[in-house]
């Protein structure tokens, strides 16, 4: 057993899952926004990065790690809600290109602002758990207290989000507003408020992902979420952008694929891992991307 745990194959699975859960979180946050407002939020990563910076400055002032997490999430949610109100709401009913371009512009503003305020040097949030890998009779196991924390937190958040949507009144209203906004309004549901709450939730989930990233080896810098956003988008796209489960599975898949390309093929082509998976997914099942929305508006 112990030798099994320390085999390189198992190492890579742990490593892949550890990054995979981050991608899953980002993908999930993209799906939440997509379902409610049909906007692919290109600033999702940057918003999370920005919120984490604000949380981190509180750590600098001597606040504990968990307060930093809570502050980051809270700031992320406020930022998400305000973004929906100010930048997205005026664009409902406009061509779908408009919100894309606006969010790309917002991404640029946030990254430039972050490097203006906090410089572009990498910082690390003091991790709450040790990053040192466990050993088993002298064999290194690719697991550390931090990796376990990262996975537990990410999976916990996913379960929480799933429970919220599935079992609460708020979740039911969120789902209804996304599925049938007009009918929901006829039933007295405040759809506008639901869209804002959807963005807040999504930005909160994104902020958790960014905090985990900033606590690990990768660290925090203004563009640190760019690559993670791309991986998260690919994960969400594989799952069809509409399916939370698909997004989570897609995230894990990409995490594993990257790890295995890195380990068994060539680290040089690792950046292409996500794209290769997306292309293959498109070739195998192009309609998989569109899931239920098979019919086109004429």
């Amino acid at each position: 057993m112990s030798v099994f745990l320390s085999s390189s194959f198992i190492h890579n699975i742990f490593g892949g899952l550890a990054t995979g859960v981050i991608y899953s979180l980002v993908a999930l946050s993209l799906v939440i926004i997509w379902q409610s407002t049909h906007v692919l939020n290109f600033a999702q990563g940057a918003m999370a990065m920005f919120a984490t910076y604000i949380g981190m400055t509180e750590i600098d002032r001597g606040v504990g790690y968990w307060w930093c997490v809570i502050i980051s999430v809270a700031v992320g949610m406020i930022l998400g809600g305000m973004t929906e109100r100010v930048l997205i709401r005026p664009l409902y009913g406009k061509p779908e290109i408009n919100p894309i371009v606006v969010m790309v512009g917002f991404l640029g503003v946030l990254e430039a602002l972050a490097s203006a305020i906090w410089t572009s040097t990498t910082r690390n949030i003091t991790e709450p758990f040790s990053q040192v890998y466990y050993q088993d009779h002298g064999h290194l196991i690719f697991l550390s207290a931090f990796v376990i924390f990262q996975m537990v937190l990410a999976i916990g958040i996913m379960l929480l989000v799933a429970a919220l949507f599935r079992f609460t009144k708020l979740g039911l209203q969120l789902r209804a507003s996304a599925l049938a906004p007009e009918v929901s309004r006829l039933l007295g549901i405040r759809v506008g408020r639901m869209l804002t709450i959807g963005w807040m939730l999504s930005a909160g989930v994104g902020a958790i992902a960014a905090v985990i990233v900033a606590s690990g080896n990768f660290g925090l810098f203004p563009t640190n979420m760019d690559g993670i956003f791309v991986a998260g988008f690919i994960a969400a796209a594989i799952g069809g952008l509409e399916s939370p489960m698909g997004a989570v599975a897609g995230g894990l898949l990409i995490g594993l694929a990257e790890q295995f390309i890195l380990a068994y093929w060539s680290p040089n082509v690792a950046p292409l891992g996500g794209i290769i998976i997306l292309v293959v997914a498109l070739m195998v099942r192009p309609q998989g991307l569109f899931t239920k929305r098979m019919s086109r508006r004429v």
């Binding site: 209804a176 599925l179 007009e182 009918v183 929901s184 309004r185 039933l187 007295g188 549901i189």
Partner: protein
């Protein structure tokens, strides 16, 4: 009670409603009749606040609702069963009903049980996804979902559309019963004038956005010209 006053609606350059005015008293069914494109659906959508009128007023129990947001009109006791029923297919029967009850001050369990009693077929299918329901069952669900919020006004948009004649007849009986027991103001939009007039107390006939007749249902039903020109009912 609904009172519509001098109501005009434009879609761009197209006049959908022209100076429409009528009254629908409480506890009675008012049928809104007319051919395709007469403005019937637009009328209901304007009452619910989904369409903004160019001019005019809509009083629901002496309160003008023009300019109020749709969700707030719904919260004021207006139940609207839209064209095509508006059942959310991805949700279960019970979830659809819970949605209807959310904005109202009702005890959820009691209200659900009451609706399951009223429409027993829904109780049998409560955990099913709505995509598995038949057309008639969907219509029942849509009505139950509107009724669960205890509305004072019920707007029904073509409830008989796509239903078999026997199902339609049963539906009409249910509507008539509801109107009586719950003291509802019912506005019943129908293309199927014959079955609507059978249960309606009053009728309003729209033609190209204007009211061409407005009175007791029996009078409208008896008017040979109206029937021939606007309602498409062949004299038997």
């Amino acid at each position: 009670m609904i009172r519509v006053d001098n109501l005009s609606v434009n879609y761009g350059a197209v006049r959908a409603l022209r100076e429409v005015g009528f009254e629908a008293p409480s506890g009675q069914i008012t049928a809104v009749l007319g051919a395709n494109g007469a403005g019937k659906t637009t009328l209901l959508r304007t009452i619910s606040g989904l369409v903004k009128p160019r001019q005019g007023a809509i009083y629901i129990d002496e309160f003008d609702v023009v300019g109020i947001a749709t969700e707030n009109i719904a919260r004021r006791g207006v139940g609207h069963v839209p064209e095509g029923r508006g059942v959310i297919e991805e949700l279960t029967v019970e979830e659809n009903l819970r949605l209807g009850a959310l904005s109202a001050q009702v005890n959820l369990t009691d209200a659900l049980n009451e609706e399951y009693e009223r429409f027993q077929v829904l109780g049998e299918r409560r955990k099913r996804h709505c995509s598995t329901l038949s057309g008639g069952e969907r219509q029942m669900l849509a009505m139950a979902r509107a009724l669960i919020a205890r509305p004072r006004v019920l707007l029904l948009d073509e409830p008989s559309l796509g239903l078999a004649p026997q199902v339609t007849a049963q539906l009409m009986r249910t509507i008539a019963q509801l109107c009586e027991t719950e003291n509802l103001t019912v506005l019943l939009v129908e293309q199927n004038a014959k079955s609507a007039l059978r249960i309606a107390h009053r009728a309003v006939v729209l033609h190209l956005g204007s009211v061409v007749a407005n009175g007791a249902a029996a009078d409208v039903a008896a008017d040979e010209d109206l029937r021939r020109y606007y309602l498409g009912v062949v004299t038997s």
